[in-house]
Symmetry: C2
Subunit: 231 residues, 2 copies
DNA sequence: CCCATGACTGTTGTGCACAACACCCCATTC
DNA sequence: GAATGGGGTGTTGTGCACAACAGTCATGGG
């Protein structure tokens, strides 16, 4: 009888424990990825707990997951520090991403439907606007949306989770390089736009393998450009 | 000056916080994989905390990681339950393992040295003994050792971690099938022995790619046999 | 002036008490 | 007899207080 409370005063009350946990996890992960919390930054458990309206205990559960994912590191007596994104350490992650990104076409591939192609159209239009007057921050946020969107191309959940974890480990390094003027921004934007158009072309032919190879190739080339510029 | 305590009363005192955490994590994970905690079993936080000589708080940190890895699931008011190993849900994990197992040869491959080949010899001798009078439990424990050992063939840490996580998600399903007489045990043992000999042959030729493909093929075939038997 | 030392401050780690919740059992009622 | 309601019990989730620890700054002695 008490399965659903009547007239919940706050919509947040309906969220389960795990939902609120995921919400905090995604929020903090996004801030780290967008360099709102740059490498080396100290995250205050007390402040974050207050911000999310909870105590340290549930928040520490979230930080623990972020630590297992390699985004933060808790040091006793010092603080919870955002790990630094060093390209030499992330080279292995990039190489793994290149290989894994080719797999959605082979492991439970999902052919896109009309709604998917429609949304892809919208993304392509948005990317065209970014080329002219986009900031690195805006672009990265956009890239995150596109990434999540393209994950739908596979129904293999473990693969999706692995790709997601690796993505968030590497993306902030690109953003850092872009902000610090290490990259040819307009060039990067153009390449991304072309990638989306190429993806559209491949998907219209129902060639998921081609689409996956395109993404894989672009990750590889993106890393090459990064590595050349910031040594 | 106080960097190292004098005359530690207990060697465990020297272990860092993270070391003790990892020790608990590996211990519980092994028990789950060896079906000492079968699917559906309730893990008592209080009992486990007492056993490891700590309180619930650090132990919950470990259970949280196991939950993120998909081995247990905590339900409020009920308990921490070992997830069930269903072959239909694990099919995606198996398929991903097949693909990932081929990668060590391409991502930072490490050629085995003499000590490695020596240890491989020992493993092959041990596997020969298991064929005649081995139990499923003994075999799985042995398989875990061999798996960890073969991870040395790549220096790509993210790949190793991913392979490890996926391994522990699937292996207990094989053990369950073996215990419940769903498999031709001697046949399985023989196949594993042959796999190790084939690996030895490939590694003697310094052909890491061949070695990786052999492992990949065996995971694929092992899943096929499992799937046929337990539907 | 320089260095050592110790108190102070702020952080994460731990333990504990209680809240929130689910399940079981049994009495009660129709 | 069957359904229902309520209390009891055991579990995980949360909040809080304190321990353990690292860094900083001031102070005193050389």
């Amino acid at each position: 009888m008490t399965s659903k409370p009547l007239l919940p005063s706050d919509p947040a009350d309906q969220l389960s424990v795990q939902d609120r946990r995921d919400a905090m996890h995604h929020a903090i992960r996004k801030r780290i990825c967008l360099l709102e919390y740059p490498p080396g930054a100290r995250l205050s458990e007390t402040e974050l707990a207050q911000e999310f309206g909870t105590s340290r205990t549930p928040l520490r559960r979230v930080l623990a997951r972020l630590e297992d994912e390699g985004l933060v590191q808790s040091v006793h007596g010092v603080g919870t520090l955002v790990t630094d994104a060093d390209i030499h350490e992330l080279e292995h992650v990039y190489q793994l991403r290149v290989e894994l990104t080719a797999l959605p076409a082979r492991l439970d591939p999902r052919l896109p439907d009309a709604a998917f192609m429609q949304k892809l159209d919208n993304f392509i239009m948005q990317s065209a606007k970014i080329i002219d007057h986009g900031t690195p921050l805006e672009f990265t946020e956009f890239d995150m949306d596109v990434f999540q969107f393209l994950l739908q191309l596979t129904g293999n959940a473990p693969l999706r989770e692995t790709l997601e974890r690796l993505y968030y480990q590497t993306k902030r390094l690109w953003l850092w390089a872009a902000i610090n003027a290490k990259l040819d921004l307009v060039g990067e934007f153009r390449i991304f736009h072309h990638e989306l158009e190429a993806l559209q072309h491949a998907l219209r032919s129902h060639d998921l393998d081609a689409a996956a190879r395109i993404q894989s190739a672009h990750i590889s080339m993106s890393f090459k450009r990064l590595f050349q510029k910031i040594k």
